[in-house]
């Protein structure tokens, strides 16, 4: 169980689901994101946006989640993009080579 707080806020419109994640994403909190994603996809949305700007920490299971979702989006034909986290949290994406492999977008371009 994570000792830190983690929250998911859903801000959906008709064909895009946006999940705003905040707090620490780790082994304990990854399942909650998986559930929220499944719930969003069950409503037949065209695009899923994960807003990582509020994340203060991401561990390896969190990184795996993004890789899996990226591959799944390609296979199932829905749109997937990520809003960059703060610099401190972005570092783990940079050093693992995920920055250049995942669909990061600036927040403004998503509107």
């Amino acid at each position: 169980m994570s000792r830190t707080t983690f929250e998911i806020d859903a801000t959906d419109d008709a064909d895009a689901a946006c999940l705003v994640l905040s707090g620490e994403l780790d082994l304990a909190t990854v399942p909650r994101v998986e559930q929220a994603v499944d719930a969003a996809l069950a409503r037949d949305v065209q695009t899923l946006v994960l807003d990582l700007s509020g994340l203060s920490f991401v561990d390896s299971s969190g990184l795996r989640l993004f890789v899996v979702l990226h591959q799944r989006a390609a296979a199932e034909g829905w749109g997937f993009s990520l809003v960059r986290p703060q610099e401190q949290t972005m570092k783990v994406f940079t050093i693992s080579g995920l920055e250049e492999n995942l669909p990061f977008a600036e927040k403004s371009s998503m509107a």
């Binding site: 780790d26 082994l27 561990d59 390896s60 050093i95 080579g97 250049e100």
Partner: protein
């Protein structure tokens, strides 16, 4: 003197009514003598007529019974509600346990006394109604006992200790002795617990064990219960039976010393398999066992059996996990010329799960390769991936010993798996001249040396799934006495108070504070620093490999010379 009460009692009609009651009713005069008892009370006290009762010494009336209050305390005559009432007190009803000395039958009665006053308001006598509440009391006790057993059994996975606690709880409330035996794979009994409220008696029990035959007799006692899976109740244990069972004089003496009056053995069963027995013996209390006790003991045994089985399964799982885990790590770090190496591996809190961290050190001709990594996920699935990574790296090194190439091969092998299998890893080639490093999505190693504690190397791509990949290879210059520390994120992600992570900064400080010490000593300090910081159970696996570069010339001169290397920076 004859009061109103007695006159009334002598009224035939009232007497007939009182005799028809199931409850015992007695009347006690102010001189504490019983002056009346209805039919039920006479039977209970063992008198044939009221006249006989009146002639008896009130102190002797309890004679046929061993009595105690609900906590096992002695009950004296002055504790009886009727006697208290006559003393002018206002007594609460008294719950009394009594065991018939002759029959061993236990019963619970509730004594309620009411004062009968004369016209002036003085107490003329005390009427006691004695209700048999045996069934209700036992039912309550059993429910409470089972609840406590349930808590005990759920409280720990150390089933041996738990069974000892259960046995301890059963005495003296349920029985005078309580023992639990389990059967091993060969059907041999393995005594797990035996309890008696008197420790001296336990020694007798231990000596009795020595007389037990090597193999259980399938036709009696524990052996029979194991064979039939049915409870076994011996209500009458005569001295003849002991004489017949005794192997020699000393044995007979011990058997007599225990003074068994009744024995109840119930199976600990999982489905149709009897994994053990619960034995209850009544001796000095004089109690016997009834069918209610058999049912009750069976309920305790059923709960205990489930607890034992879960604990055994769990411990098997832990053993499998430990075996699998150790197969994923090198048995020992080989001696590397020019290097001194120490490694640390600590799986996360859950003993029954295989972690995803690993490290390996192996030789490739002149040089050596060291790999440390973290496979995402846990359990047998992660173990399979770890195994794949480790053996792919070893196989790849047969053809090419460049760290970047090793990582590329591991990446390719992971991609061929049907499910997304990610792994962070760092590969170092150690030679007499220094080290070469490639990193795949893994934290950079630290170098402890003249420049303090600094990250070395360059980041590369996480292994297993990504399209754009790069694993830049970096040569690391090292002076003699300088140390490289490679670690997994379990170290830096360790959570302390306020949910704060240990972080790279604290790791660096801790390494810097350790000063110039050998790898094994550094490992010890690191473990201590982590333990001091960490709160609660360790959440993630932790692996660390510490490598000190020794002066190659000195290493050549002395094979055991690792510790004799002089101060660093002299190369």
């Amino acid at each position: 003197m004859e009061g109103e009460t007695e006159r009334a009692i002598r009224d035939e009609r009232l007497s007939v009514i009182l005799d028809a009651l199931a409850e015992a009713v007695t009347i006690r005069a102010p001189n504490n003598h019983l002056v009346y008892a209805n039919q039920a009370a006479l039977e209970r006290l063992g008198f044939s007529s009221v006249a006989e009762l009146r002639a008896a010494d009130p102190q002797e009336l309890m004679g046929p019974y061993e009595t105690a209050d609900e906590h096992g305390g002695e009950i004296r005559m002055e504790d009886l509600p009727s006697v208290k009432l006559l003393r002018g007190e206002h007594p609460e009803p008294l719950l009394m346990r009594s065991v018939n000395r002759a029959s061993g039958e236990e019963s619970w009665v509730l004594l309620k006394a009411t004062a009968v006053r004369d016209e002036a308001g003085e107490i003329e006598s005390a009427v006691t109604i004695i209700a048999d509440v045996t069934e209700a009391t036992r039912a309550t006790q059993r429910v409470e006992f089972l609840a406590r057993i349930g808590e005990l059994l759920a409280s720990s996975l150390d089933y041996q200790q738990t069974l000892r606690n259960v046995a301890g709880l059963a005495v003296p409330q349920i029985a005078d002795w309580c023992a639990v035996d389990l059967f091993d794979a060969d059907g041999q009994r393995e005594p797990v617990a035996i309890a008696h409220s008197d420790p001296a008696k336990l020694q007798t029990a231990a000596r009795l064990r020595d007389y037990e035959p090597e193999r259980l007799d399938p036709d009696q006692g524990v052996g029979k219960v194991r064979r039939t899976g049915e409870p076994l109740l011996y209500t009458e244990i005569s001295d003849d039976l002991l004489v017949a069972a005794a192997l020699d004089e000393e044995h007979l003496r011990l058997l007599r010393e225990v003074g068994m009056r009744a024995v109840l053995i119930v199976p600990l069963a999982i489905g149709r398999r009897t994994i053990g027995t619960l034995t209850m013996v009544n001796s000095e209390s004089g109690r016997s066992f009834g069918m209610g006790d058999v049912e009750f003991a069976a309920q305790i045994a059923a709960r205990a059996a489930v607890a034992v089985e879960s604990a055994r399964l769990y411990s098997e799982r832990s053993t499998v996990a430990r075996t699998l885990q150790s197969s994923l790590l090198p048995e020992a770090i080989p001696a590397i010329p020019g290097w001194e190496v120490a490694a640390l591996y600590r799986p996360a809190g859950h003993e029954s799960e295989v972690g995803g961290d690993f490290y390996d050190v192996w030789d490739v001709g002149e040089d050596w390769l060291m790999m440390i990594g973290d496979v995402t996920g846990k359990g047998v699935g992660a173990a399979a991936v770890t195994s794949l990574v480790r053996y792919t790296a070893r196989a790849a090194s047969e053809f090419d010993t460049r760290p970047s190439e090793i990582l590329a091969r591991v990446d390719a092998a992971l991609r061929r798996r049907p499910t997304v299998s990610l792994c962070t890893a760092l590969c170092l080639r150690l030679s007499r001249e220094g080290a070469t490093l490639a990193v795949g999505g893994h934290p950079l190693p630290l170098r402890i040396g003249d420049g303090g504690v600094q990250e070395v190397g360059d980041y590369g791509t996480l292994l297993g799934a990504l399209q754009k990949t790069r694993w830049p290879e970096v040569d690391i210059a090292l002076k003699a006495g300088e140390t490289l520390v490679a670690f997994t994120d379990g170290v830096t992600d360790a959570i302390g108070e306020d949910g704060e992570r240990w972080g790279t900064e604290r790791l660096r400080e801790s390494l810097a504070a350790a000063g110039d010490v050998a790898p094994a000593a550094l490992r010890t300090r690191l473990v201590r620093a982590l333990d001091e910081f960490q709160v609660g159970a360790q959440a993630d696996d932790t692996a660390v490999v510490i490598m000190r570069f020794d002066d190659p010339r000195q290493a050549r001169e002395s094979s055991a010379g690792h510790a004799s290397v002089g101060g660093r920076g002299n190369g």
